[in-house]
Amino acid sequence: MGGTSSKLPKDLLSEYQVRLTHVMCLFRAHKIFSELQGGENGPYSSRVSMQKILTLPELKANPFRKRLCHVFSTSDMKDGSLNFEDFLDLLSAFSDTATLEIKSHYAFRIFDFDDDGTLDARDLEKLVNCLTGETDDTRLTAEEMRQLISNILEESDIDKDGTVNLSEFQHVISRSPDFVR
């Protein structure tokens, strides 16, 4: 660990204390990130492209991996590339200590495929397809999908405007005890 810790300036540590209390985790995150950067010791604002991020073993099999990159990326180009701080955001949102609020917020943004601020029928369809996978024996038929989506909207769309917004989403989530991530 000593080798990696020297690369992280000390003052950054005190700056990050808001989010990560565990320095070890921070070091480990930085190590992983600098490996992704390709060994060279770039500045903290340098970005790692989405392709490289997706090679992480934790993300390789995740059906939401591209959405993850897009949601956590602060890049102006909207290419899903992450810098170190975005990477830390990603990690802390998925850590065990993150609050339900943060988790549900980011989950909502991950599920909101077209970034319009609500989950409409098309978002839900994409979400269900992501969950079930694209193979023929697992994915739902068109009729099943229609039924499922109308049922979901009926259950969770409280103000009946045809979409699920963040508060409605959080309401549903709060009722489900095992919102594990």
């Binding site: 540590l13 209390t21 985790c25 405007d161």
Partner: protein, 950 residues
């Protein structure tokens, strides 16, 4: 009109709400009214684009052309871009997307927090900023919006600054913003704080303080990371969770919880009982050396071990002294000055306190996990929950991901099919058959359980008699005698091993539809078995052995019971080992090699957890008789963890039926608390209260029961020191009198009752609020539809056919019959209405048409609609204005409901007035003649109404 009108014409829409909601409505309308003023600047831009984008026309036409397809307006709705813009600037949508919305939300929250900290919870003084504002964050691109966001941020920074440090950190941590933004916020807050502080401080000192703080913080980080590395089995648990999902993970977490309970128990008994006893030399002679067969002694716990710290019999009943000695019966003042250690008292209170603290921890964690998993509003929403939160992000292995996907796919299909088939029922014969099968299965399970219990009962009786014979004969082989002690534990453990398998076969025969049902059934059957077997064993120990120890030649029956418990615990462990080896490893090899099956067996969480609970019950039961039993349990659990982990990785695959982890944890904790801990406590308390301890050994020798130790001590204390006399009387009143216990239980029950009542009330309020939200949603939808219509009308200059108009008129007719109150209300405003009428009349032919339409609508709803719609007609760019405006009026409508009742006379007057007015106007068009017709109709109607009133 096209398909959407059908929704307007729906006569079910009723905005009247019960009168007791007035307060809520008032506050709502107040809030919205305030915000209406702010809204103009946002909306201002809408008319500008109105003229410009011509692609809207295409979209509108498209929308109309495929209107018949839009049967489901919830899903298939297509709005024009203007409407979409308005929609997307509504707070409900922006909050999931824009940064400004988040900032303002947290601004409000910090405000509330500050308010709470300042303990001034008045709603009246709420400043505007603390309310959810619609303004500003809808349009991020224009300068005004940006400025607004800056403003918000400043306010947030101010609020944050006024919070305490810990609150601020917590608040920042809870914000779903990116790290750089948070950093910026924090810097802003700190800068401000420093500005205000640094003026009156010596820079050198602050510099030094800063360095010290930095150094301390670094030290603190080091300590924290050290602590996190200490957390038990962190990486192992992560690994298990990643491969097998949260269901299996919950088993291991439960195991860890049990380990902590035992460590606690061990620490308490070890520090308070074992160590003091070990450092003072026991008065018993240590010459009893029966070193016959060491291996067997480890298994039976008898022989050498029976006179060791492991068991109750080794502990003595003296007051251990450090420093100068004094006799226990001598003058007490000298005793209390030295450090005296009254062994019986300590033994009694240590066990009691350990149980009490365990109970508190258990109840606390149970209530916490209950609160997490069972919410107040227990409504449906199964499908939504399944879709939104079924993905286990912990799973990272590729094959497991595939399996999880397949699981979710089949589950969703099943659920959808279930929703579809809810009405469809099985034929009577089939249901009867199923019922019969279930009955048969239960009978089989209960019968086998009963048979096992009886077998244990008679077998233990037989072994008891056998032991008695052996001791009386005294000539038999000691080795055989010891081995015979192991018979009952072996029998019980094998029952525990074999019968669950039988239950599984029976459940397989029953063919349950839902896996969760299957799991609950299997848990309850296994539980029944274990509880009844343990009950019989407790009777055996406390009823047979403890009441008649002489017949067995026992000097110390407590030690004997402790040995028995030790044997059971050990046997349980050995059988678990065997089960893991034969049941999991060999079965896997067999099924893969011989049966050529691809699948590995699945880890049976329910059975394994119940075995853990069984073992823990034994440990709790045994603490009194053998204070070091928790240590044995700790070793057992440690072994078990690594063994199960290895076996899991080698032999098992991720479960086909996913277990929902959190609910499972709740159930495990509940089971641990209710039958296991409660049963153990009852047994231990019974032993302490009403069984005579053996006279020759242990700390309680010579007492009538263990409870007397405390009593005697209190009396002695009172005798020595008269000031403490109240303690004795309090003791006798509180502890010996059952009335006090009953009182406590009664208070407890009353509290539970009150809480359940509160929850009930909350549920009712939630229902009301949900209804209200639904109404608001209806409102919103209605207005948006209106907006869309008007927009379409603006685009197309072609007149609508006359036929459509007449349709609407007939509709009005039906409505005026039902809603006379609303009707009269709208008439109060008809002055302005007719005014706009003339105004638009000059424009085009189509305009009059829309107007009549809106007129009818206002009839059905409230007068507010008329008001707003007339607004939209005169000035087209106040679309959204009407949107919020109407909200207000709908609510005040219910408020002033009674008011309209009294003024019937004036109503009729104004009515006739408008009647003539409209009449003159509609002269020009022949088809609007129907309109006037309806009006006369309603006129007569209201007339009759007033008649009945006067």
């Amino acid at each position: 009109m096209d398909g959407r009108v059908s929704f307007d014409a729906d006569p079910v829409i009723d905005f009247e709400s019960p009168a007791d909601e007035d307060g809520v409505h008032d506050s709502f309308s107040q809030l919205i009214q305030e915000q209406c003023h702010d809204l103009h600047d946002v909306i201002e831009m809408t008319p500008l684009d109105l003229e410009e984008d011509s692609r809207d026309d295409v979209e509108c036409l498209e929308a109309d052309s495929d209107a018949p397809q839009q049967t489901d307006h919830l899903i298939g709705e297509r709005w024009s871009s203007d409407t979409l813009k308005v929609l997307s600037s509504m707070p409900s949508r922006t909050i999931g997307r824009s940064r400004g919305a988040i900032i303002s939300q947290y601004c409000n929250r910090t405000m509330q927090l500050r308010r709470r900290r300042q303990s001034r919870p008045s709603i009246q003084h709420f400043p505007r900023s603390a309310r959810p504002s619609i303004r500003g964050y809808g349009v991020e691109t224009d300068a005004a919006g940006f400025e607004e966001e800056e403003n918000k941020r400043d306010r947030l920074v101010n609020n944050l600054q006024n919070l305490s440090d810990s609150d601020r950190v917590r608040m920042l941590r809870a914000m779903p913003l990116s790290l750089s933004e948070k950093k910026e916020l924090r810097m802003l807050v700190l800068n401000k704080a420093e500005h205000s502080v640094s003026q009156n401080q010596i820079p050198c000192c602050s510099q030094l303080k800063y360095y010290i703080i930095i150094a301390l913080r670094h030290g603190w980080y080091g300590w924290l990371s050290f602590l996190s590395s200490l957390q038990l089995w962190q990486t192992a648990l992560k690994c298990v969770g990643g491969r097998f999902g949260t269901g299996v993970l919950s088993y291991f977490i439960f195991l860890r919880t049990l380990l902590f309970f035992n460590v606690f128990l061990f620490l308490v008994t070890g520090l308070l009982l074992v160590v003091p006893q070990a450092i003072t030399h026991p008065d018993q002679d240590q010459n009893i050396t029966v070193r016959s067969s060491w291996g067997l002694e480890v298994l039976t716990g008898a022989g050498y071990f029976s006179h060791s710290l492991l068991y109750y019999g080794y502990y003595n009943n003296q007051t251990l002294q450090t420093g100068h000695s004094c006799s226990a019966s001598g003058n007490g003042t000298s005793c209390s000055s030295g450090l005296s250690y009254n062994m019986p008292l300590v033994y009694f209170f240590t066990i009691g306190a350990a149980f009490f603290i365990t109970c508190i921890i258990l109840v606390y964690s149970m209530s916490k996990s209950f609160g997490q998993s069972f919410r107040i509003d227990k409504s449906k929403g199964l499908l939504a929950i399944k879709v939104f939160s079924s993905w286990d992000f912990k799973v990272i292995k590729k094959s497991s991901v595939r399996l999880q996907r397949a699981n979710i796919g089949t589950q969703l299909k099943e659920l959808v099919a279930e929703v579809n088939r809810q009405e469809q029922k099985f034929p009577v014969l089939q249901r009867l058959f199923r019922l019969f099968i279930h009955m048969l299965a239960w009978i089989m399970c209960l019968g086998s359980t009963l048979a096992c219990v009886l077998a244990v009962y008679y077998f233990s009786e037989h072994m008891h008699g056998d032991l008695r014979n052996r001791t009386q004969a005294a000539s038999s082989d000691p080795l055989l005698k010891e081995a015979s002690l192991l018979a009952v534990p072996v029998v019980v453990s094998s029952i525990n091993l074999l019968l669950p398998g039988f239950f599984n076969v029976v459940a397989w025969m029953e063919k349950y539809d839902s896996p969760s049902m299957l799991n609950y059934i299997s848990i309850s059957r296994n539980l029944l078995l274990k509880v009844s077997v343990l009950g019989v064993l407790c009777y055996h120990w406390l009823g047979r052995v403890a009441t008649d120890p002489q017949s067995l030649g026992l000097e110390c029956w407590e030690s004997f019971v402790g040995q028995e418990l030790y044997r059971f615990l050990l046997m349980d462990f050995i059988f678990m080992l065997l089960d893991t080896f034969f049941g999991e490893f060999l079965w896997r090899v067999f099924s893969q090699k011989a049966l050529k099956r691809k699948r590995k067996p699945v880890f049976d969480i329910a059975r394994n957890v119940l075995e853990l609970i069984y073992g823990q019950t034994l440990a709790w039961l045994g603490v009194l008789f053998s204070p070091l039993l928790p240590a044995v349990q700790i070793i057992k659990l440690l072994f078990l963890f690594y063994m199960k982990k290895v076996s899991l990785k080698m032999n098992c695959q991720a479960s086909g039926k996913p277990w929902r982890a959190c609910q499972m944890t709740t159930i495990f904790i509940t089971l641990l608390c209710f039958p296991a801990f409660l049963g153990a406590t009852v047994c231990v308390t019974y032993t302490m209260w009403s069984i005579t301890p053996s006279a020759g050994c242990g700390p309680f020798r010579g007492l009538k029961n263990m409870f007397q130790a405390g009593k005697r001590w209190v009396h002695r204390l009172a005798a020595v020191n008269p000031d403490l006399h109240w303690l004795a009387s309090a003791h006798s009143y509180l502890v010996e009198n059952p009335l006090f216990l009953f009182l406590c239980a009664g208070i407890f029950l009353i509290m539970i009752y009150f809480h359940s009542q509160v929850v009930d009330g909350q549920r009712k309020i939630i229902e009301l609020l949900q209804e209200q939200i639904e109404n608001e949603g209806e409102d919103k939808k209605f207005l948006i539809t209106r907006l869309q219509h008007i927009h379409e009308r603006k685009r197309r200059v072609t007149p609508r056919p006359v036929k459509g108009a007449s349709e609407v008129h007939t509709h009005t007719l039906s409505h005026t019959h039902t809603h006379t109150h609303a009707h009269t209300l709208s008439h109060a405003h008809t002055h302005t209405h007719t005014h706009t009428h003339t105004h638009t009349h000059s424009h085009t032919h189509t305009h009059t048409h829309t107007h009549t339409h809106t007129h009818t609508l206002s009839h059905t709803h409230t007068h507010t609609h008329t008001h707003t719609l007339s607004h939209t007609h005169t000035h087209t760019h106040t679309h959204t204005h009407s949107l919020t405006h109407t909200h207000t009026h709908t609510h005040t409508h219910t408020h002033t409901h009674t008011h309209t009742h009294t003024h019937t006379h004036t109503h009729t007057l104004s009515h006739t007035h408008t009647h003539t007015l409209t009449h003159t106007h509609t002269h020009t068009h022949t088809h609007t003649h129907t309109h006037t017709h309806t009006l006369t109709h309603t006129h007569t109607h209201t007339h009759t109404h007033t008649h009945t009133h006067t």
